[in-house]
């Protein structure tokens, strides 16, 4: 009994240590966004009415659409890791490219959402915002900063995915050696995780 327990302990330790680098990075990323969530919480507490009204300027439909899109991108990434474990190169490439395309659609939607706000004059430093007051300046400042930082994470994920796709294409990543794809996938899912937490802050509350 004690032997089987210690064996299980050793197994899980080994598995964790092989992934610890990327997990440390992911944890630091989450801390970065946690700081921003805290900032949002403080500012919202100080300016409840302005935040309520400013959030009404954002389209819930667009936010929900983007959430479903990015969940779809994570699904594509998960399918590609299933495919590479089975050693199916064509399916892996197909799902990686699909993931890239779905991720691109997220950014297209983000572009139109930002363009709509900017056309209304709601962007950091605009006269329209200065006229509305301090709370709106804070809300839209946080909105552009947090969604922008998230979009930058997606762009970094794009670079990672394009590199992984080329490695799968020249057979240096395959059914026996797919750790890089799994790690890139973890980073990609991290972008989904962060979006799932950002979404209610700006669209639902």
């Amino acid at each position: 009994m004690s032997q089987s327990l210690s064996m299980a302990g050793n197994l899980s330790e080994k598995k964790e240590s092989t992934l610890s680098g990327i997990w440390l990075f992911i944890f630091i990323e989450l801390l970065l966004f946690a700081g921003l969530f805290l900032l949002y919480g403080v500012y919202r507490y100080k300016n409840p009415v302005a935040f309520d009204l400013a959030a009404g300027e954002l389209s819930i439909t667009s936010g929900v659409l983007n959430t479903i899109i990015i969940l779809g991108a994570s699904l594509g990434m998960a399918y590609s890791s299933v495919a590479i474990r089975k050693g199916n190169k064509m399916a892996t490439l197909f799902w990686l490219l699909t993931t890239l395309f779905i991720g691109f659609m997220f950014l297209v939607n983000r572009y139109f959402e930002w363009k709509g706000r900017i056309d209304f004059g709601f962007f950091p430093g605009s006269e329209e915002l200065a006229r509305l007051g301090h709370g709106d300046v804070l809300f839209f400042g946080l909105y552009f900063f947090m969604t922008g930082l998230h979009a930058i994470h997606l762009l970094v994920g794009f670079i990672g995915l394009i590199y992984v796709t080329s490695r799968v294409n020249n057979n240096s990543l395959n059914g026996g050696n797919y750790a890089l794809l799994e790690k890139t996938g973890s980073y990609w899912h991290l972008a989904t995780l962060i979006w799932v937490l950002i979404f209610p802050l700006f669209y639902l509350l």
């Binding site: 944890f27 969530f37 805290l38 919480g41 929900v64």
Partner: protein, 88 residues
């Protein structure tokens, strides 16, 4: 190597459908204007979705040391928000 760890494509599809449903439910509930309860609901469902992404897509075991660290972080953040909201 980690065959016991693999999840099939079908279960990933189910996870995806579940996450979409969670998003739609929290959106629907947020339109009801329940006051501060709707804040708790929106956040609660977001944290549930985030934990599903962590445990299913990212394959983090929610009883490992990473998860304990994460839980400590979330509790610390919740405590800070509580102090800002009710004491601040």
């Amino acid at each position: 190597m980690d065959k016991q760890n693999t999840i099939s494509a079908k279960s990933y599809t189910l996870v995806f459908i579940g996450l979409v449903l969670l998003t739609l439910i929290s959106t629907g509930l947020s339109s009801l204007n329940l006051g501060y309860i709707s804040t708790i609901i929106a956040f609660g469902l977001a944290i549930v979705s985030a934990l599903v992404v962590l445990s299913k897509f990212m394959n983090v075991k929610l009883d490992g040391s990473f998860a304990r660290l994460l839980l400590a972080g979330i509790l610390a953040l919740a405590l800070l928000i509580f102090f800002v909201g009710f004491v601040g």
